[in-house]
């Protein structure tokens, strides 16, 4: 069985989910699971015009490595893609993608489930949401470290 590879993507371009699935596909691993987070509108009853994602790019990649190491400790994974898009995204556009392959279906699915929870904890990204009525930094929530 080939060694599993990690692919980390931080980009201002559209996330190409078909390419990510091709990257993790491998006859040695019979299961491929993916999770995509997309900009939702309406949100809390308001029509969203766009969300501007700000990120600390170097640290996003460092924390993606932390996430991948964590996921691989608990799960028997094949290949893994962790991707986050930054910049202005319109409703329906994908901001985050987690794509994993594994020999057994449980592992790839759990990588997506655990992965999205950890991404929301660990990746240094902040949403500035612009709706028809308001523009605000979305209140975050993270248990990554003790706040000041």
């Amino acid at each position: 069985m080939p060694d599993g590879k990690n692919i980390f993507v931080v980009t201002r371009d559209g996330l190409d989910i078909a390419r990510f699935m091709a990257e993790v596909s491998d006859p040695a691993f019979g299961a491929v699971a993916s999770f995509l987070g997309t900009v939702r509108s309406p949100n809390l009853g308001e029509t969203v015009l766009y969300i501007d994602y700000e990120g600390y790019e170097a640290m996003i990649k460092t924390q993606m490595q932390v996430m991948a190491d964590e996921l691989r400790r608990g799960l028997e994974l094949g290949h893994l893609v962790l991707a986050h898009r930054l910049g202005k995204l319109k409703p329906g556009e994908a901001s985050i993608a987690i794509v994993a392959s594994s020999k057994h279906r449980k592992d790839a699915l759990l990588a997506c489930q655990t992965g999205i929870d950890r991404a929301k904890d660990l990746l240094p990204v902040w949403k500035y949401e612009v709706t028809e009525k308001s523009q605000t930094w979305v209140k975050g929530n993270s248990s990554a470290s003790t706040p000041l």
Partner: protein, 79 residues
């Protein structure tokens, strides 16, 4: 010692800059540094913020070393 300090999101807006170079007297921890920044930059409130040193999350008691890159930011809201 010299360190680099980064701000993101609402803290970047409040600091009116993304990046500072600071000369500090060691030993100093993250909490001490935050207090000093709040004293020098009126209107920049770091209480409730998270901190990372060299791209890894740290708690407020963590000691700062020469050459560190220290980032302050609000709780993350990505995904």
């Amino acid at each position: 010692m010299t360190v680099q300090v980064l701000f993101f999101a609402s803290l970047r807006e409040a600091a009116n800059t993304r990046e500072l170079q600071l000369s500090l007297d060691a030993p100093l921890n993250v909490r001490n540094l935050a207090t000093r920044i709040e004293r020098d930059y009126k209107g920049l409130e770091l209480s409730g913020s998270l901190c990372a040193i060299n791209e890894h999350y740290v708690d407020p008691d963590t000691l700062i070393n020469e050459g560190d890159t220290i980032a302050f930011f609000p709780p993350v809201s990505g995904g």
